[in-house]
């Protein structure tokens, strides 16, 4: 991202933070009021049943004293930004990375499955694309199924994959990676088919005048021509792979990884844990995409196609 590009992006972040901060008040007003009443504060209306009748915003306006308290609840419905930030700081920087309490530990669990799945998915995607471009039968048969595969909700498919692989003794990293691969191969197939077919008739004729072999045509023309398409696909693929790994952690009661943290936070009433995992996952995805963007710029610049990037 260029320096100039940072300001619009920060403006959006600032806006989201502002909306979030304001939303904390009405979202947490009722439970804050209940707690405050137990701590002998005077709350209007006094009866909890009556309070259910009015909105969170109305309740906060009637009892301005509870507004600061909505930001410091132990188990808020919506944690405030600073609570999430503290939870992230606490679990990333103050715990040993090998500890189960460390978010770095959980990040690594999810990241390793993501990267393995991404490698499997990308390899599969490139191989399928080569097959589709060079083989008429594969062109007719594979593409429709690749598209169909992506119409199946991954949330429905993931538990089946995990349970079935578990039944034949495959557990841990690989089942999650397979779900990652399942999500990440598709953009690679689509992008690479387009990229490998991007050389025009004239460029192909040129190779025919040299009586170049199909092999030479692939390595000297089709593959280099597909590079800009490949990188675009990889950036979509790696974020899909991360989502896949997290989804793979949800249905089985996995004990580690971002998915497990989100589930634990939800089930044990620790919203800060869920939110911290959510943001950590988003930051991880952003970093992965940023690394790929950097590789893209480097590669295309070296190939003299910097302007295309």
């Amino acid at each position: 991202m260029t320096f100039k590009g940072i300001f619009p992006a920060l403006t959006v972040v600032g806006f989201i933070l502002a909306v979030w901060t304001l939303a904390v008040i009405p979202m947490n007003a009722h439970l804050t009021a209940d707690q405050a009443q137990r701590d002998d504060m005077i709350i209007t209306p006094e009866a909890p049943r009556e309070r259910q009748e009015i909105s969170g915003l109305g309740l906060a306006l009637k009892n301005p004293a509870i507004i600061p308290l909505t930001y410091v609840q132990q188990r808020p419905r919506l944690p405030s930004p600073h609570q999430v930030a503290y939870e992230m700081y606490d679990t990333i920087f103050t715990k040993a990375p090998t500890s189960r309490k460390s978010l770095v530990y959980h990040a690594w669990v999810t990241l390793s499955a993501t990267l393995l799945g991404f490698v499997i998915g990308t390899t599969l995607g490139v191989l399928l694309a080569v097959g589709i471009v060079y083989n008429r039968t594969m062109d007719k048969s594979v593409m429709p199924w690749a598209i169909t595969s992506q119409t199946i909700p991954i949330l429905a498919l993931a538990p089946m994959v995990i349970v079935m692989l578990g039944a034949i003794g495959i557990q841990g990293l690989l089942p999650k990676s397979i779900i990652s691969a399942y999500l990440s191969f598709f953009p690679v197939v689509v992008g690479m088919v387009k990229g490998l077919r991007s050389p025009d008739g004239m460029q192909l004729d040129l190779l025919r005048t040299y009586s170049a072999s199909a092999n030479q045509g692939f390595w000297k023309l089709r593959l280099p021509a597909s590079m800009p398409y490949l990188f675009t696909s990889l950036k979509i693929g790696i974020s899909a792979a991360l989502v896949g790994a997290i989804v793979g952690e949800l249905p089985t009661g996995a004990r580690a990884g971002f998915g497990a943290r989100m589930l634990v936070g939800d089930q044990y009433g620790q919203p800060m844990v869920t939110w911290a995992a959510l943001f950590a996952a988003a930051i991880t995805a952003a970093m992965l995409v940023a690394i790929l963007s950097l590789m893209e710029r480097r590669t295309l610049a070296r190939m003299g196609m910097g302007a295309a990037a």
């Binding site: 004729d205 005048t209 009586s211 280099p224 021509a225 003299g304």
Partner: protein, 258 residues
């Protein structure tokens, strides 16, 4: 003089969704070694198709065609010709030197030979010093010159050019025409050149093949009396204007009967 390309009773029909298209009908032509032959005619007259037949990129429906005494397909596999397309078609990810090396790599020339040939043909098209530049750093005319260098790099005796200067402006085109003549004089290649510009055809050629459309056929073959040495102002000479007239008449005749 030895015969390099000969076509006899050549016919080519394309099957399209709108029915068959008769692209070439009864084409007879002989091209000798060292000839500069232009093919001129309106679009759809089959001039590019004929060039592609010589190159073995299209297969005639019937008739005989031989290149260096072989079928065009064999000649293509023997790398008998270099082909220059309408657009330069340089690979954007290769430098100018890398683009010229492309046919050499494919044909398996060794590294030292490749380097020597690249610098020699760059010199020939007046692009010495541009070896490490990428195509986007060059103007359109320079890119087209690089693509000619690419076609020259492996020393084929025949150079086939399909409207190579069609997309360039007139001043650049004049300049390139002059350079092409010098290059032809130096290398003594046999050149087949497709164009739709009458002055270009007359200025460059020793033999002008006038073609007409529907079906694509040869309506006139003119052997140019102009000397081999041709400064640009030869275009104002009476001989030049006379040949240009004959070409124009041939084109008009082709037009009137469709």
């Amino acid at each position: 003089m030895s015969l390099v390309i000969s076509a006899a009773n050549l016919d080519l029909t394309f099957e399209t969704n709108d029915g068959p298209v008769h692209a070439l009908k009864d084409v007879n032509l002989e091209i000798n070694k060292g000839d500069f032959v232009s093919f001129i005619g309106p679009s759809g007259c089959g001039k590019t198709t004929f060039l592609r037949c010589i190159a073995g990129l299209e297969t005639p429906t019937s008739g005989e065609i031989s290149v260096n005494g072989m079928t065009p397909d064999e000649a293509r596999r023997a790398r008998a010709y270099g082909y220059v397309f309408q657009a330069a078609g340089l690979y954007p990810w290769r430098t100018i030197g890398g683009n010229i090396r492309l046919p050499l790599e494919i044909m398996g020339f060794d590294k030292a030979d490749q380097a020597e040939r690249v610098s020699r043909v760059l010199e020939l098209v007046d692009l010495a010093g541009f070896e490490k530049k990428f195509p986007w750093q060059l103007s359109g005319g320079m890119q087209q010159r690089a693509s000619i260098a690419r076609a020259l790099a492996f020393d084929a005796d025949i150079l086939l050019m399909d409207e190579p200067f069609g997309a360039l402006d007139e001043i650049v085109r004049d300049h390139l025409n002059e350079q092409l003549l010098q290059l032809w004089a130096r290398t003594e290649k046999t050149i087949g050149f497709v164009t739709h510009s009458i002055p270009e055809a007359v200025y460059l050629s020793t033999k002008i093949v006038v073609m007409s459309p529907r079906p694509g056929r040869i309506s006139d073959v003119i052997d140019s009396p102009l000397p081999k040495e041709r400064p640009l102002d030869i275009r104002d000479s009476p001989e030049f204007i006379e040949i240009a007239h004959r070409v124009r008449d041939g084109l008009r005749a082709g037009h009137s009967d469709d």
